[in-house]
Symmetry: D4
Subunit: 186 residues, 8 copies
């Protein structure tokens, strides 16, 4: 998904509606965005000014899958049965893998560790220590302050979080998550 | 948030942990990402390869607030009491305004209309018509197939959705949402 | 919304139903209350006695938006990326702003801090200290006992709460919330 | 709760914090707002400008209880076993009564009917008819488009909703709700 | 918990279906159980054996309302703004009153205190002390270990719980709840 | 629903607290009601007046288990893989059995059918037909209007519901549920 | 459910669709898997390679029911009123019994203890002790770290969990759960 | 995970507790089952009888990932932006991939289509047609009756479901899901 220059013209809603109606003549279900063809562009209703836009950096699904797989492989190599999650900077899950034999608590635990790591841009083993000073941090919905989550960074900013759960210790979980992070640099 | 060039060096987790420990000496609570200073950058653990990264386009909070305010103003001018929501391409709410006198059902209704508009990149008045062919679309969690939602587009792709609820008809709601979209082009 | 004198006549449900049927001849969707015109008033079914009524004081949406914007501006000026929420005395969110770059945990965290501040009419930094005596207060649904929430008061009574989340410390978050409160006095 | 004039002075957060600390010396748990005494008023941190404030009209708990009881009595007199709910204009439940022998589905059903009636300021028997034109209205969270809900109005504006569930027909349920509305005029 | 005699005859599903079909000729909505008339009894499909049945003791709605009202009156007399809940032995809410000016956190807090009191048949002030020995008791869903809940007992067994929230201390809340319990003995 | 005689003496909260404290000297966790011994009775705080009490009839766990087992056996005999639920008149699940090979949708489906049957005191196959007249009945939370639920009655009143899900048709599901009902009469 | 050899042939979706259409000519509702007849096998669309498959070991419903009943019997014999749950290795409830007189908190508490025991393959009394080292383990959704849960093992691996709640102490609860486990060996 | 023979000896809980205590001397967090070593086997508390056990067939994580990747590749090749889910026979998500540019509604939609396909062992395009006869099937929690879900079968029995959402039509979604199913046969 390359960075796009932004159109400035704003067409009316009426034109857009017509274009959309045309687009729906076939059987239509759960459709995503219109493909970026010239004719579709012609129907654009509200191209916004460049100044209105901001970019959020995230992993491609290819990269997220690569990281998740490397994480799971590290766990398997160590004889551990775990679940692995990769969430983006918005806290949305991009990849979830429930490994063979991983416990029923592990998928949600992995997702929350990943969410926590990307929210504070730090490994959850470090974040768990912060509770000594601010114990109620752990009451923020969606978080889990257990070792096993690691942030993925670009220029120091968090772009994703990797979470692992299921090994006998959170430190082991976090080793696997770090292996996933490192796989992105290879 | 300008587009950043991406570092390629990958430091070890140990170094990162040290840097993070140093960063937590003060009273720390609910902290967001580390500030992008050179010393913080030095601690980067997992700068990823450029090929791993993708950008998602969204509205700045300034633009989203401007659009929401224009939407609410249009409703107020028409004597209607409404709630207004702006959600981003990930479906996350960026702005929510519950207007004076708006009914208790209106905030959630506005959020769902915005979510629906950005998910399918079309006004919800159009999407409601698609149910004739695919009636169960409306069972997808988070959606609401009622007029009142409008997508915000950049080069034809959805970057946000604006949802309005509370006027006596969905068509009125959607007029206000369109006013919000158009305000972004001014 | 000025204080209204209250009609005492009670009309029958049948008359009201007729009026409502008349009001729905156009396309109707998600409509709010009928506009306060004489003809609508004529259809009133159950005007209640004055003694039955009580007033709840809250912020106008204009004031709530002003406060939220001042809060976000204070954070931006300090280089912090935060989310801001304003909730009313009933705990209902009036304004939510997810700032640029604010973490995914921050909107819900901001809402809960605002909810907590308005519920107990005190800054959440103070309320967090009360847990030393009553630790289970924090188990009340909807609350978050972390610094960053501030009450808005009228004659000492709480009329709203402002919550902030995303800065590296709750004390910073609360400074921004206080800036929002103070903006209401300007 | 009479309408209050609004103080304009804004004290600093520091003073407020001190006052709050003083107020918490006793055992404190789940405390509501400070009582409106002169000394408490002296600690007010953020008395807001009059222009910032709006009033929402609702029922007193005495009135809401009276209406709910009259509703339940009407049902009992008719030999029906029902639940009764009164919600305010913000959609918050003020009174809930699960009558003797009322089915397990009835409390939530009553709450939703009341919520729906106050949201659109019309009896739910009327609102159910609107679905012919806007069928997806019923997908708005919190609503139930079944007869049995009636709005309580002041000068035509909705100030509460009464919902009933459990009788063999929604029309019966709504008769009881109307009896509750009418009791407020006596 | 003694047993009642019951009918022993078991009719077939077919007969029952016919009776039910007959019962639905009118407009039918949200209907509760059939009234206990002889003709209805004739359609009984599955009267069970005496040995199959057990009785659960609870409050009548009249008693539950009386207790809730006495509780609220005690709080009002003390100048406190609270919410009051009465739940039965099955944990189901029978009465909920959100008093004038009670905070938004108070209704759910009152319900949970009542639930906790009836679950363990003890005042929640006592139950909170048990956490010293079994701290994770408070993680059981639906509970709240804060003073303010009191059990209603019959022959020592719990038949209901009364919960109060909103006063400046849980001890005050619980005094009001006890006033509600005692009103049942008058 | 006849009433039982009960104790009328009301002891004070102080005495009760003492008794409770004594009862908690051992390791205490998740304790249910005190056993009904004379010494426990001596600590009774709030024995209520006879007029305050009502009885709800339900199945013993022995009967509910017998019915559920008979239901599952009928399904197994017919070569069907199903889940079975028995809920009481308050809608609370008493027995849940997820049979071997039953689909993941079946337990919740069975619970909801049972809930629906006991709420309206009719087989869900009959209730599904009522939707022709009142289509929005099915929007009541907790219900499912699919064949497969059957009420258990005592003197014509519902005392439980049995729900089945997983067979290729709801009619089959309901046959098994009826077999469970009939087993109670043997 | 014996271990099956796996077909390797992959038929096309078209053939499968035809077979499925044929299977739906009768009234069809909530149907589970097709019965394993030769003709059904002929329509198989996607028989997978053996290497793709793994087996998860669990209890039969007969065994799970036997264990749950033995658990409840042990509690009844000891004069305790409890709920009992059996969950499988995937955390899915197989059996739930709410015993006579068991408190409203007990079913969910029993399910969570069973879930916790099977997730970590240890009695919850042991797991509660681990919180001394990793206190945030208890924040993992679905868990409850209170005595009363016991794993069922096959060759040392967890195949189910039994949870009990309602006795005056968790140690008692766990004795009953162990009785259920031991009944499986008889 | 090969099929294991089952031990029959049942050791006591005391021995197991000792073994478990020994296993927890290191830092322990979110640990899964004990590794299957002889010494661990010696501590087995409740090895069950063979007759108590049943096997559930599912995909290995390797197979599930392969199928999900093939599904996503097929969508990408067709220029569509989708999310993909693989759930097992228990309805538990094994793999979730949110593809680049896929809408915010797509992950949950994909999960539900997969859940629906494995629950009824049929493509969701077929299942959607069944609603003509049993329209309320779609009210079963967790389901979504939209084309895009396909079952994975072994000997005709469902062992997994693959769900896809995000393409402009459900038929396209389902083509991609079928590509995933077919990849398992290669």
């Amino acid at each position: 998904m390359k960075k796009i220059s932004v159109r400035t013209k704003v067409l009316t809603g009426t034109v857009a509606a017509a274009a959309l109606a045309a687009a729906t003549l076939g059987a239509v279900s759960a459709s995503a965005e219109a493909t970026d063809t010239p004719s579709a562009a012609a129907a654009v209703k509200a191209d916004t000014q460049n100044k209105n836009l901001a970019q959020t950096t995230g992993l491609t699904i290819a990269a997220a899958t690569k990281a998740a797989q490397a994480t799971l492989d590290a766990a398997t190599k160590a004889g551990q049965k775990v679940s692995v999650a990769v969430v983006d900077r918005d806290g949305v899950t991009r990849v979830l893998l429930k490994g063979d034999g991983a416990g029923p608590q592990s998928p949600e635990s992995a997702v929350r560790k990943a969410f926590t790591a990307v929210s504070w841009n730090a490994p959850t083993s470090e974040l768990a220590k912060r509770l000594a000073q601010a114990p109620n941090l752990k009451d923020i919905p969606g978080t889990l302050f257990l070792a096993g989550g690691a942030p993925v960074q670009s220029k120091g900013a968090p772009v994703a979080g990797i979470g692992v759960a299921g090994a006998p210790s959170g430190d082991l979980d976090e080793q696997f998550a770090q292996a996933g992070v490192e796989a992105l640099g290879k």
